[in-house]
């Protein structure tokens, strides 16, 4: 590396070191200490925090989080892919407009967007009122503080990522490929399954990993829409640091979570790399 490029990279490196590497290293170090009897930290080396992560109680919360995040991911991918497909199939000049509306929620605050769902799903919220208006007369349905509410919130918040990630390969797909498939005798459904879907899979994978990684570590949505009844890892970590005052255990949980995320992101990066790597074209004599 020349001194010049080192100089240019310095701010970015400093930023990464100060805000990513150092805090992560601190949290990692924390995970190897013992919790003090009255909270605080006792500086003796131990592995029992990691042992506790594997305790069925906590492992169960991990699995539960993965299940909720997985469900949100599947739903977001189905809706997001369908939306991206519809946008890519609309007239060229309207596509930027539709995309703009798809990402519009991003311009508002995450908390506000989540509170909006509370207003909608409340006991006498807008959804219940709508049902009443349609003639429903029974007890108001329990919508808020359910797993469904948490999943709805996660899907809603991360849907734009999926739309954008799927739109990119869909809009680049040569429409003549689908026509060629039809021409060779395939039905519309077979054409989708064998041509369109495989060629846009990298976009789906990118969107899915994004939603899953962001969902599994989320603690705001489960706290607000799940009403604290649905413990996800994010909430557990939050509790360890701010309520239970067990920082070492919270740190160990964080590390486990980060490990899962890194693994997924790495796998996705590898898959994307493999999909986009182009073999050098060989010009043989024809």
């Amino acid at each position: 590396m020349t001194s010049r490029s080192a100089l240019l990279m310095a701010p970015a490196l400093a930023w990464l070191t100060g805000l990513m590497v150092v805090p992560c290293a601190l949290v990692l170090a924390l995970a190897f200490f013992r919790r003090g009897i009255y909270g605080g930290i006792e500086y003796t080396f131990t592995l029992e925090n990691f042992g506790m992560v594997l305790n069925p109680l906590y492992a169960g919360i991990f699995l539960n989080s993965a299940r909720i995040a997985g469900t949100a991911t599947v739903i977001a991918v189905i809706i997001g892919y369908a939306a991206a497909y519809a946008i890519a199939a609309s007239p060229r000049r309207l596509q930027p407009v539709f995309l703009f509306f798809a990402v519009l929620p991003f311009w508002s605050n995450y908390l506000i967007r989540t509170y909006a769902w509370i207003v909608l799903l409340n006991r006498e919220g807008l959804v219940t009122q709508l049902l009443r208006w349609l003639g429903y007369e029974g007890e108001p349905p329990a919508l808020l503080y359910t797993e469904g509410a948490v999943i709805t919130g996660l899907v809603y918040n991360y849907l734009p990522f999926v739309v954008l990630a799927c739109y990119a390969p869909l809009s680049r797909l040569n429409p003549e490929l689908a026509e060629a498939s039809r021409d060779l005798g395939a039905t519309a459904l077979t054409t989708f399954r064998r041509i369109v879907l495989p060629l846009t899979l990298p976009g789906i994978a990118a969107g899915a990993v994004f939603v899953f990684v962001l969902s599994i570590g989320n603690f705001v949505t489960p706290a607000l829409l799940g009403g604290g009844r649905f413990q996800m890892i994010g909430n557990l970590v939050y509790d360890q640091f701010l309520t239970a005052n067990d920082w070492p255990f919270g740190a160990a949980l964080s590390m486990a979570l980060i490990a899962i995320m890194l693994l997924l992101l790495t796998l996705q990066a590898f898959a994307a790399e493999r999909a986009s790597s182009r073999v050098v074209v060989r010009e043989d004599a024809t």
């Binding site: 040569n174 003549e176 490929l177 026509e179 060629a180 498939s181 039809r182 021409d183 060779l184 005798g185 395939a186 039905t187 077979t190 064998r194 041509i195 495989p198 060629l199 182009r278 073999v279 074209v281 060989r282 010009e283 043989d284 024809t286």
Partner: protein, 354 residues
């Protein structure tokens, strides 16, 4: 020969754009048919209607006497080779070719057999396991052809199949395509904007302009007896002299007359154009010729086999083109600035009403 495909008064418009305007054509069994016309004249639109990707705004398309205008593309015994080839990038050459047969739900070993056979016919066997991105332009073109041919369609449509290839490869592939068509015995309809390509390959050809059919005949007839001035200009090289019709030909502004066969319903005095091909013009004619003129050599273009003479005359604004064989040029050397006499017969003169 039996008619395979009838295009019966077909029109197609996209909003206000009329892409195909009342075209009627009959394509015969086992024929190599070319659709020729300048870019934007509606060739691709017509082909897409035959393949089933567009429905005609008017008229009917009949295959073996049955109206197929509203049959979807996957149920037509017709295959299209796309201008962009449209090979499936995530599949190998073999999988691309097998795809169409899998859609017919043929047994696996039968598919294998027919794919192998087609790989051999198109000399692709060595490349069977490559992906399209690992192939050269010419190889991709052969895969696209193989993928369509392996279905054994009643009709194969080819949209500018050689457009993406360089000139030399194109000449080879023209002969190759014609050989292949003969071998497989399938009717080919090929679209091209290259008149030379149509002349070389086609049994019969149709010339289109602005969505309308101008002429449909054998290449020889279209070349020798073009239906109108546009066709005459579009196919090959032609010299035009504009004037007014009189009793025996076209009267020139300078008072001379170019003799030729008068078009039907010719009214004396009407504006008309006389046309003659460069290869029909004699240099320094001896004896009796119907039409004579003189001009100054403006340029000489050497083409290997022959020499193209650009002659400044009083007959037209554009220089007169005269083809001289290399042999004749050797016998009578020419130089820029020379004054030469030319002549040609009335039988070789076409006259078009303007």
């Amino acid at each position: 020969m039996k008619t395979l495909l009838s295009i019966d008064a077909v029109s197609k418009n996209f909003g206000r754009v009329v892409a195909i305007d009342d075209v009627s054509l009959a394509i015969r069994e086992n024929e190599f048919f070319a659709l020729l016309g300048p870019s934007g004249c509606g060739k691709t639109t017509l082909l897409r209607m035959l393949a089933g990707f567009e429905t005609p705004s008017g008229g009917k398309i009949l295959l073996d006497g049955k109206d197929i205008s509203n049959v979807p593309p996957n149920r037509r015994p017709v295959n299209l080779m796309f201008q962009s080839y449209a090979l499936f990038p995530h599949m190998t050459v073999r999988a691309n070719i097998a795809y169409g047969l899998e859609m017919e739900r043929l047994p696996a070993e039968k598919i294998r057999g027919r794919v192998d056979e087609m790989l051999a016919t198109t000399q692709l066997a060595a490349l069977a396991d490559r992906k399209p991105e690992q192939l050269s332009g010419g190889q991709r073109q052969r895969v696209a052809l193989a993928r369509a041919l392996v279905k054994r369609p009643r009709l194969l449509l080819l949209d500018e199949p050689l457009g993406a290839l360089d000139k030399k490869l194109r000449a080879t592939m023209q002969i190759e395509l014609k050989r292949l068509q003969h071998e497989v015995g399938i009717t080919f309809v090929i679209v091209t904007h290259d008149q030379e390509e149509a002349l070389v390959m086609a049994d019969r050809m149709a010339v289109l302009r602005d969505g309308r059919l101008l002429q449909c005949d054998t290449p020889h007839e279209v070349y020798e007896r073009p239906a109108d001035r546009f066709v005459a200009d579009f196919i090959g090289v032609m010299n035009f002299c504009q004037g007014r019709l009189d009793a025996s030909g076209v009267g020139m502004p300078d008072g001379s007359c170019i003799r030729g066969r008068l078009p039907e319903g010719a009214a004396a005095g009407a504006s008309a154009t006389a046309a003659v091909r460069p290869e029909r013009i004699l240099l320094r004619p001896t004896g009796d010729v119907d039409n004579r003129a003189a001009g100054t050599v403006e340029a000489l273009a050497y083409h290997g086999l022959d020499l193209q003479l650009h002659l400044r005359t009083d007959l037209s604004e554009r220089p007169f083109l005269v083809r001289v064989t290399a042999d004749a040029a050797d016998r009578q050397p020419l130089a820029v600035g020379d004054r030469v006499e030319i002549g040609w017969s009335a039988a070789d003169t076409r006259i078009f009403k303007d």
